[in-house]
Homo-oligomer: 242 residues x 4
C-alpha cells in the first residue's frame, strides 16, 4: 500500500540526520496521497539507523491508522490538522533543530533579513502562539496544528509562500509540495535562524529586507516568471536548485 | 566478572566521542549491578580509540577496586557517592562537554525553556554549589558527588525526573536507569544548554516553560500514561525514541 | 571547448561543499580565458553530487551563452560585470556562506582585525550598498556587479589586494587570479567574519589592525618581497601555502 | 638525520587538521633534539594532504637550515627564539585556530574559568603585547617569540605550567615536552577559549577559578602527587589521559 510514497517519506526522513537537523529520533516527516486521502508517516521513536521504508505507517485524514504494525509519530495529530487546513501541502516535517528551537523558546519570528531567506520564504517565518493550558490538556498535538493555522490566518500569511512556522516554546514545523521539499524548507529555516541571530547581535539597526528585494529573490525561483534552475516552467518543484 | 555489564559500559563510553561530548579522554561512564553491589567504570586516562571492554574496572560501593589491572577513573569516588545516594540510578556519566561547562563556569542552572528540555528533564538542571577549599582538599571527588546530592535535597528536585546536574566551576554529570540512558541524558543537557544560551541572548523576557507544558512533554514520554514510542508500558526505558 | 578550464572550474565548484561554504546548490564558481574572452560557469540549480565537468556553460563577455546545454547560473550577469571591470580577475565565486551573510545583512564591513585577515586581504572587506528598487527591477544581477565595482572605486580599494566584497542584504562574492584562488578567498572571508564577530562581542575597544601589521602580513605572502611558501617569485599564485 | 623526530613532528602536524585547528596550511609544529641542538619543523606552505615525513626541515638554534630541500615555516624564527628561552620545551605549535584568534584580536587573556582549563593550564593564558612598528619591521618573527617570553617574565608566569600564549592581533602559540603534547595544549586552549567566551556572555559576575581549585585540578594531573591516568610517576608525559 502506497509503497512509492513510503519510500519517498523514508528517504526524506533519512535526510534529517544527514542535514544535521536532528539528534537521536527527534524529528519526523510525512507525505500525503491527496487522491486517496491518506498520508504516510515515520513510526514513533524509531532510530534513523534502524528505520526501513516498510516501517512507515499509513494514516487517514481523521488521524486513524490504516496500515502498519508500529505506532505512528506522536505528532501525527499535528500533521493531520495541517493536511486538513493547508490543502496544497504534500509533505510535512517536524524537527527540534537547535537554532529554530532557540527562536521558538524566545517566542520570536525568524525575520526576513537576507536573500537566502527570500529565496525560499516570502516573508518572516512566524512564531505561532504558545498553547494555553486547556489547549495542551485537551488535545496537545491537534492544537499544535491549530495554533499554526490560526497564526497564518490572523496574520494573512500565505502558507505556500512561507512554508514553515515555529510553535512558541516548542520548535519548528515546515511543509512543501513534497516530503523532500518540506525537509529542504526545514533546513533553510535552520540556516536563516542562525544567520538572523548573528545579524541581530551585530547591529540594532533595522535589518528587515525591503519588499522589492523580497519580491525579486522569491520570484526568481517561484511562479510563472521564475528564471532560476534548469526547468523554469516547473520551477516550483525545483526550488532546491541554484 | 560482569562481562555483559563491561560490554554495556564500554559501548556507552564509546558513544561519548561519537556524540561530540568529549575531546581526548575527558569523560567516563559507569554502570552498576545493584544485586551484586558492584559497578564497572572506564579506566583513567585511556584514549577511546584504544579502549576495550575488558579494560573496564570493577569497583564496589565503598569505592574499592574489586577487579581490573588498570586504575579506575579518577572520578570514581563521585560515581560511588552518587550510586550510594541515588538508589535507582543504573548508570552515570561525566563529561567536559563545552556548553554545559560554560554554564557551570557561570554557576548558572540550565533552565527549562523548550520542549526538547521537557521531553527529558522535568525542570531546570541545577548548578550545584562549587566546593569550598576544605571540601576540595579533604575529598575532592567524593565531595563532588556530595554537592550534587545536597543540591537535589535542598531544592527538592527528584533525581529521577531531572537526571543531570552541573557542578559549578567544573562541568556536568548525568545519570539514568542504564549507562546508555545516562549518556543520552548528557547529550540532551548539552543540546539544551546551547539552545538556552541563544534564547537568553535573543530576549530578556521570561522564557521559562509553564508548568503545564513541562507536565505535558515530560509525561508524554515518562510514566504510566506515556504514549510516545513503540512500547508505552516500558516507556521509561525507551525515552530515546521519537 | 575550453575543456581544461571546465575541469578547473568544476573542481573549484566542488570545493564549496567540501569547505563548508554552501548548503544545497547555493553557490557558483566561474573561471575566464582572457585570451578568448570567454568564461566558464556552473549551470543553474544543479546539485554538487550530480555536477560533471562537461555541464559547465561557456559564456562570452556580453553574457551570451556560447556553448552548453544547460542554463548558466542565474548570477551570470554579476560574473560578467565583474570580469569586464576587474581586468586581472581570473575566477569568481558567489556563496551564501552564513557568517558572511550575517555581516551582509547587517550592512557591515568585515574589518581587518587579525593576521589571518591580513595574510589574504589588505584591508577591510567592504559591504557594498544594497541595490535600490529601480536597480533591482531593471537589472538585478548586473547591478549586483555594479554596486561592488562602484564601492571599490568610491572607497579607493584595490580589488586585487582585497579580493572579496559583501553585497548588503545578500551575501559574499570573492575573486582571484584563478577559480581555485577565488574559492580560497571566499573561505578566508568566512573564517575572518566569524572571528571578527567574536572579537567584537568580546570587546568594544578598537580592534582594527595597525597599517604596519597589515603591511607586514600581506607582503609576507604577496608581491616581489614575499618570503612565505616554497616559490616566492610566484608567491601570488601560492598564497594558499603556509 | 633525525628520522624518528621527523616522523614524530610529521604526525603532530597531521593532528592539526584532524583536531580542527587549521584551515588550509595555517599552522606548523616543530620538535627539538636538545642533545644535538637541532629542531625539525614543517616546510612553509605545504598542504597537509601532500606533507610527508621526509619534507621536514632541520634547523639549528641560530635558525639556520641544516638539512632539507624546502623552505622551513616562515615562523621558524619564532620557534628558534622560544627554544632558546624556554629550555625545557620539546615541541612548539602555531595555529590560527579561530577562538584563540578571536581573543588575540581583542588583546585579551583566556582566563582560567573552569576545570578543563585547570587540568592543563595553571592559570590564565596570557595575551602577549602586540608588536610595535619597529619590532615588526626589524625582525617580525623573532620579535614574536620575544614578546611571548617578555610577557611570561614580566608577569612571572611559569612557561611549563602555562604552556601557551596568544600574540595580540595575531594568534596562539603552544608548547610542551613533546610535539604531540604541544598540539594537545593548542587544542585545550581552543576549547577553553570557546567556553570562556560563552561564560563571559552568560554572566558579568566574576567567574575566575579560586586558587585552591586551580591547585587541585592542575596537580591531579601534574607533578609528584598526580593521581590521574595509569602511570602517575610519569604523569607529566600523560596529561592527555582522562
Amino acid at each position: 500500500m502506497l509503497e512509492d510514497l513510503k519510500q519517498e517519506v523514508y528517504e526524506a526522513n533519512m535526510k534529517l540526520p544527514a542535514l544535521g537537523l536532528v539528534s537521536f529520533t527527534w524529528g519526523n516527516v510525512s507525505g500525503i496521497d491527496r487522491d486517496k486521502g491518506l498520508f504516510v508517516i515515520k513510526p514513533s521513536g524509531v532510530s534513523y539507523d534502524e528505520l526501513k521504508p516498510e516501517d512507515m505507517v499509513v494514516v487517514d485524514l481523521n488521524g486513524k491508522v490504516v496500515e502498519g504494525n508500529m505506532n505512528p509519530s506522536s505528532d501525527t495529530p499535528t500533521h493531520t490538522y495541517l493536511y486538513n487546513h493547508f490543502p496544497n501541502v504534500g509533505g510535512i516535517v517536524h524537527t527540534h533543530s537547535p537554532w529554530a528551537v532557540s527562536f521558538a523558546a524566545a517566542k520570536m519570528d525568524v525575520p526576513a533579513m537576507n536573500t537566502t531567506h527570500a529565496d525560499t520564504f516570502y516573508g518572516d517565518i512566524p512564531a505561532a502562539d504558545a498553547l494555553s493550558q486547556s489547549e495542551i490538556e485537551e488535545d496537545y498535538e491537534g492544537n499544535t496544528g491549530k495554533t499554526i493555522v490560526k497564526t497564518f490566518n490572523e496574520r494573512h500569511i500565505d502558507y505556500e509562500a512561507v512554508p514553515a512556522a515555529l510553535v512558541s516554546q516548542h520548535g519548528p514545523f515546515a511543509w512543501g509540495p513534497t516530503p523532500d521539499k518540506a525537509v529542504y524548507n526545514a533546513k533553510v529555516l535552520e540556516v536563516v535562524a542562525e544567520e538572523d541571530y548573528h545579524t541581530m547581535s551585530l547591529t540594532h539597526n533595522n535589518s528587515d529586507l525591503p519588499q522589492y528585494l523580497l519580491d525579486k529573490h522569491y520570484y526568481r525561483k517561484h511562479g510563472a516568471n521564475a528564471y532560476y534552475g534548469q526547468d523554469n516552467a516547473q520551477s516550483k518543484n525545483h526550488a532546491d536548485r541554484a
